[in-house]
């Protein structure tokens, strides 16, 4: 574990990514203490440019709502959606991939055809359709993002399991009569974890983008302030008030960049071959 952190921190990209995401998480957790007021509250005159009033540093939007407060509250929604939907996608994708890879044969065929069924549909249109049918809410958004993002996990895990199950220690476990569940969960999965973790960090970034895109199209949860919503609502007035769209846009950019850098760093730190080379 120590080695892992050492490798992670040695990678400048990974370090920057970690710092960004720690700041984002900090804001999401404690932002409400700095901004006790709801981001929906109309606090100043509309279309106040940024850096003109110290009370609303980043200006106000079309209704006079504080853009900075929106960013703070939006961080919570974006991270929450990113983390929860990724967790859900993992809980679907990992078992499906593990079972398919371990048992092989007809089970594998059935599960992989099922997975391909989802993979053949472009993910963003599918997410739009799902949210539109289920009516936009935080649950339908998390659910639809999870549904469109689990297939790659399943394929990755299957590939890993396929190669691991021929290893001697796995064969040994089978010979000693261990149960399938035990073998999968104790012998195989822990060793297949590193690529999954790397993939998961990228999935979080992707989920943040998906949520923003959905909100941009007006399919966000109408009760939650999110970055994508801010960009979408500000889009119509971008020629009069650039700051309404630019600041949340930068927030999306930075947090997605942060997650990607972390993924990169994780990849370097967890890949034994790369770790040896760098030594």
């Amino acid at each position: 574990m120590k080695k892992f952190w050492k490798a992670m921190l040695r990678n400048p990209g990974g370090l920057i990514g970690l710092v960004i995401i720690f700041i984002a998480i900090f804001i999401a957790l404690f932002g409400q203490m700095i901004f006790p007021n709801s981001p929906w509250r109309m606090v100043q005159r509309p279309f106040l440019p940024p850096f003109t009033n110290p009370m609303v540093t980043l200006g106000t939007d079309a209704l006079g709502r504080d853009v900075f407060a929106g960013l703070i509250y939006g961080a919570r929604v974006s991270l929450l959606v990113g983390l929860v939907s990724t967790t859900v996608a993992l809980t679907i994708g990992v078992p499906v991939g593990a079972i398919a890879g371990y048992f092989g044969g007809k089970v594998d065929d059935a599960l992989m055809r099922f997975t391909e069924f989802f993979q053949t549909i472009p993910s963003f249109p599918l997410a739009i359709v799902l949210v539109a049918i289920l009516q936009p809410s935080i649950y339908s958004i998390v659910g639809s993002i999870a549904i469109v993002s689990w297939p790659p996990v399943a394929r990755l895990v299957r590939g890993e399991v396929l190669s691991l199950r021929t290893r001697e220690y796995v064969q040994a476990a089978i010979v000693t009569g261990q149960s399938n569940t035990w073998i999968i969960s104790r012998e195989i999965l822990p060793n297949a974890l590193s690529p999954v973790i790397v993939l998961a960090s990228l999935m979080v970034a992707n989920a943040i983008l998906l949520e923003s895109s959905l909100s941009f199209l007006g399919l966000g949860d109408p009760n939650l302030m999110s970055w994508g919503y801010m960009v979408g609502a500000g889009r119509t007035v971008i020629r009069q008030a650039w700051w309404i769209t630019v600041f949340p846009g930068i927030a999306i950019l930075i947090s997605v960049l942060g997650m990607n850098l972390i993924g990169e760093g994780l990849n370097d730190a967890l890949n034994p071959r790369l770790a040896k080379d760098s030594r």
């Binding site: 929906w40 209704l63 109408p222």
Partner: protein, 515 residues
């Protein structure tokens, strides 16, 4: 030399002044039509865009000024009998249909019989009609079962378009091929409709008002995207943006463009009024005090100034100030969060969740929903916004599956036509989209609206409507928000376009282009 120059300058300025008064002939106007109408046969289709295009093809017996005074249309003059039960119209002679056939009283009788079947609102307007007769080719006599005050207000082109008998008689009106190339008596004739692109109307050279229309034709441009419509105006592709063509947030920017004229006039006949249905069946909203609290809690001046860019008027009650028998002598609900909180407390509101459904008609309405939600949350209400699309919102409204829901409806100039329908018990019907959706029922209000429709003379009607407005405003069956104004934006070279209470819908007759 100098003297000559000065003289020439003086002369030319005089002549331009004189010219400014005189309409100029010729030119074609490009206008936006949004959305593309489903059809142009006004007796069958009454969508907003259909009325806007076809109001210039067809005509009604009367036209209405911006103050809703009746003016001659196909009828030259009209008299109302002292008992207010007989309306006699003298039709204009020498009027021809676009195909050259003469227009007579027989066309009027035929239109009325057809409209009773095909036009829901006309059918409603004609319930008090006993019989209609044509003693000669240019006289039509309407006899009513009992006096019906608003009757003189139902002859507008969209409410009662006159269609040609010689084309539709003996055929199925709905499937008649003539519907694709409508024939009317109006100042413009249908030329071509390229679906998804444009509708072209050309000048009717035989129009019965001599010298009109001044322009050669109209192109109604169909541009599906709001931003693209703004750009089309900016680049000069279109000269007229009828109300609602572009997003409200874009109105101030476009209005400031050089040589751009903006007016809120031309909607007086419709006088659209926005309010929130408050579902009176909801146990919380059933309490009058909660409904009053909502009126106090919502900052309607803010909505007007910020969301509608200062256009429109804060509503004082069920009637728009543009229609007959409006009174502002009613209880007032200024923005007063403290009072709203006190009323909620009195009502014993304990934070029960109330669902709020904005109208899914674009950005303006989304922002409005957000602002109202925040207003209500600020006074301690627990509001959840429901996001939905147009079919979803229609279904939820008509099934009464809502708590608070935004809408806007037309009022058609008279409380008996456009106001009463939203509050009387007989208009509570599950499955319909308009009328009494909130489920408010008050026998006294029912009785007053019933009497008001048939009372004579007008002073008696005013008395009744004053009374009913007071009761309604006290009871707050729905939360009235704004009298909406949809600004018409035109290039300033287009003159005299908005001259009536229905604006662009029949305005091209008098419009001209200053070159």
């Amino acid at each position: 030399m100098l003297k000559k120059l000065v003289l020439a300058l003086a002369l030319s300025s005089v002549s331009t002044l004189a010219m400014a008064q005189e309409p100029k002939l010729g030119g074609t106007i490009n206008a936006v039509i949004q959305p593309e109408p489903p059809g142009l046969m006004l007796a069958l289709v009454q969508n907003g865009p259909t009325q806007m295009v076809s109001g210039n093809i067809y005509e009604g017996l009367l036209r209405y000024s911006k103050t809703l005074e009746p003016q001659p249309g196909l009828a030259e003059s009209w008299t109302i009998s002292p008992d207010a039960k007989t309306y006699t119209f003298k039709l204009k002679q020498g009027v021809t249909w676009h195909d050259g056939k003469p227009f007579t009283a027989a066309d009027v009788l035929f239109s009325i019989e057809t409209l009773k079947v095909t036009h829901a609102r006309a059918r409603n307007n004609l319930v008090q009609l006993d019989k209609v007769e044509a003693p000669d080719d240019y006289t039509v006599v309407f006899t009513l079962k009992q006096p019906f005050g608003p009757f003189i207000g139902i002859f507008e082109v969209g409410s009662m378009p006159i269609i040609p008998k010689h084309i539709y008689e003996g055929t199925d009106v709905k499937t008649n091929p003539a519907n694709n190339a409508p024939i009317g008596t109006g100042p413009f004739m249908f030329k071509e409709w390229k679906k998804g692109s444009f509708i072209q109307l050309v000048k009717n050279p035989n129009y019965h008002v001599k010298g009109k229309p001044y322009i050669d034709g109209i192109y109604w441009q169909i541009i599906p995207d709001a931003a693209a419509r703004s750009v089309a105006y900016e680049t000069g592709k279109v000269d007229v943006l009828p109300g609602g063509s572009i997003e409200n947030f874009d109105v101030p920017r476009v209005s400031k463009l050089p040589n751009t004229c903006v007016t809120g006039d031309g909607w007086e006949f419709f006088s659209p009024m926005a309010w929130m249905w408050l579902n009176n069946r909801n146990p919380v909203l059933a309490n009058k005090k909660v409904r009053q609290a909502i009126m106090y809690a919502v900052d309607r001046e803010f909505a007007k100034d910020v969301i509608w860019n200062g256009l429109g008027k804060v509503a004082t009650g069920p009637s728009s100030s543009a229609i007959k028998f409006y009174t502002d002598n009613v209880p007032k609900y200024p923005y007063d969060p403290a009072k709203a909180k006190a009323l909620l407390k009195e009502a014993g509101y304990k934070g029960e969740k109330i669902r709020l459904m904005p109208l899914p008609y674009g950005e303006t309405w989304s922002r409005w929903g957000e602002a109202v939600k925040q207003n209500l949350v600020d006074v301690g209400m627990n509001i959840e916004t429901i996001a939905t699309d147009v079919p979803g919102s229609n279904q939820k409204n008509s099934e009464w599956d809502y708590d608070i829901s935004f809408t806007y409806l037309y009022q058609y100039g008279d409380p008996a036509l456009g106001v009463g329908r939203n509050y009387v018990t007989s208009a509570i019907q599950k499955g319909q989209l308009f009328n009494n959706l909130e489920g408010y029922s008050n026998p006294e209000v029912d009785k007053l609206f019933e009497e008001g429709a048939v009372a004579t003379p007008d002073s008696k009607r005013k008395e009744i409507y004053d009374k009913v407005q007071k009761i309604l405003v006290e009871d707050v069956p729905v939360a009235w928000q704004l009298e909406l104004q949809f600004p018409t934006i035109t290039n300033c070279k287009i003159k005299n376009l908005i001259t009536t209470g229905i604006g662009v819908n029949d305005g091209f007759r008098d419009a001209w282009i200053d070159k």
